[in-house]
């Protein structure tokens, strides 16, 4: 039977995986994918809490909203990555440290 706990555990695992991907991946695209995982971990949590606790539609709505945001974020982020690549001929984030300067 699906309980709140199991949903939260999946969400947490997904978040951890996503976070690990963000932290460890050198490739910008992979990092973006990690970000997507984190966002979806959040979505699972929203939906789970909405379903098991409030019996209302709010959680699902926010999840939908997050999905829309995530799409547009991904579009912007990909555009940035594309620009970075165009400027620096790399998407390796170790080499993209112009913030330091």
């Amino acid at each position: 039977m699906i309980t709140l706990d199991s949903c939260l555990i999946i969400g947490a695992a997904l978040f951890t995986l996503g976070f690990l991907a963000v932290l460890t991946k050198r490739n910008a695209i992979s990092v973006l994918m990690g970000v997507e995982l984190i966002l979806n971990a959040a979505n699972i949590n929203f939906v789970a809490f909405g379903f098991f606790r409030s019996y209302e539609i709010h959680g699902v709505l926010i999840a939908l909203f997050v999905i829309v945001i995530a799409v547009s974020e991904a579009a912007v982020a990909l555009a940035i990555v594309l620009n970075i690549y165009r400027n620096m001929r790399t998407v390796n984030l170790d080499e993209v440290d112009s913030l330091k300067k």
């Binding site: 976070f19 963000v22 932290l23 460890t24 990092v31 984030l93 170790d94 993209v96 440290d97 112009s98 913030l99 330091k100 300067k101």
Partner: protein, 689 residues
Amino acid sequence: MTLLYLAIIIWLLPLLTFIIQIFFGNRLPRKGDWVVVGAMFIDLALALVIFGNVIYKYNPDFRAVLQFDWISLGGQDFPLGFVLDNVTAVMLVVVTLVSALIFLYSIGYMKGDPLYSRYFAYLSFFAFSMLGVVLFENLFGIYICWELVGLSSYLLIGFWFEKDSASDAGKKAFITNRVGDFGMFLGMLIVFSALGTFSLEGIKNGVESGQLSGTLLTAAGILFFMGAVGKSAQFPLHVWLPDAMEGPTPVSALIHAATMVAAGVYLIVRIVFMLTPVSTVVIAYIGGFTAFFAATIALTQNDIKRILAYSTVSQLGYMMLALGTGSYAAGLFHLMTHAFFKALLFLGSGSIIYAMHHALHAVNNDADPQNINNMGGLRRKMKVTFWTYLVATLAISGVPFTSGFISKDAILAGTLSFAGRYPQHFLLPFFGFAAAGITAFYMFRLVFKTFFGEFKISEAREHIHESGKIMTVPLVGFAVFCFFAFYTAGNNSISLSSPGEGWFYDLIKPPEQTAMTAAEMPFSEEIYEQEELPAEPGASHSYAIFLSLLIVGAGIVVSYRTYISKTISAETWAAMYPRLYRGMYNKWYIDEFYHATVIKLIFVWSALCRWFDNVIIDGIVNGSARITVIFSWFEGKFDNIVIDGIVNGIANATQILGWFTRQFQTGRIQNYLVGFLIGIFVIIIFRMM
């Protein structure tokens, strides 16, 4: 008054010829000597006109004064003025006559000199200044001309300036005179600060009314005398006159025998009303001592001009002695007679030197043409010179029927009567008579050594010639004035021995009132018992004649036996008193004394001043600069190390900190996220605790 204007023309004429001569002299025919000499003879003629007028008037109180404004400051005024009285008239004749004859003589003596025209320019300038001294009624004016006389003397002594001895002598003369002038100027300051005038008339009134009296008056009198001491070469400022013989001989005759040196005597005559008993005694002693002292030096000298120079000093001492003992007219009288016979002696010597110089030059002998030991027997070669020289020698020795006899006798009689009144001053007649004897001795020594015996440098004997007419005529002219008759002619008679009845004493009256009557003089009461000095000697006259004849005769006889009949040996005497002889021969070491004391002191002191300036003051200035530099160096160090150290230290610390923190800023978002994660963990851990 017209006469006075005439006198001013006499004064200005030489100035005019001086200007002509200095600017155009070389371009004029004969280099302009005729301008100067001619002007001087015009001067002489004018002076004789004045003199004739004065004699004709025969008024002892004759006096014409011309005052005019000179400097006016609103409150204080300094007018100048000219005066013409009997003294001036006599002096004008003396100065112009002597000058005219000597100018004439110079044409011959200076022939061929490269600076011929300048010589005459200087001569005119001298005449101008000397006449100014005579004519000014005003001490300020007298002082101006007095200094100008000194200047012309300087220029003429140093005329042959390529000789070091000549330029030294000129400088010495000027500076020694300046020492005297310093005193005279102080005297003027005293007089002016008390009376507010430089006019002699005004000063006389002031002294008579007692506005200037006591110690201050005495001081003023002595200070004026100091000026006279300088100009008339009295001890202790006599040192310049013998050296002044470096100048051309006519100059020695004109300036350093007849006129300029007499200016001192003339000055005292002018200010005689200012003399207090103390100052007259000072004058008398200095004069008497100088007369004696200079005569002793003249005894042993060998340079013909130096002997005469010392004899001049000695004779000027006589004049001062006369003024100091109250024989006012006698002093002036001796000034006049001395001017003629001493000028004659110098011109005669000039004639000898000229002949000697040419003779020695002809045989290429470089012996000293002025040394009397090189001469002898000139009597036969130079007849005119010899006879005129002899006349002058007789006059200066005081042999009867000569002018010198009358004037010197008057002075000696004066001293004798003075000592008769004040026996404590017995030294004064002693000085006078002793000097008279010595004078007779050395003057005849001079004559015997030059004109008698055999010429010492035999090879040059043939070349000795009498000088030309232009030089002998003045000699004869002066010789004429060595006889008594010119001086003692009076209204009714001509006296053989005494000037008392002559025109001179009638014209030149002693001042009636003098400062000597001032009773408040501290020791006038003791010495003078409030008694007036005798105006003129009277009673002691006959003693004086007797005594002086005796002494002069003795002098001449001893001289004859020493140098002609050789029965007395001068060498033996010299050997008997070696110290005395050496002292006389070396002029009593006065020059050496001055060199070792005054002059040395001045040089040391001036070197000290220079040292002080360069080392101490500049040392302080430069030292303060250096201290500033050192201080600023330290300050710079402080700045660099301490202050900059602090500033830089802070900067460095910041930098290190920045470096440290920068290490966290990798620019990689992932690193930041790690930090963020760690932060969250930390927060969580804290929350849980």
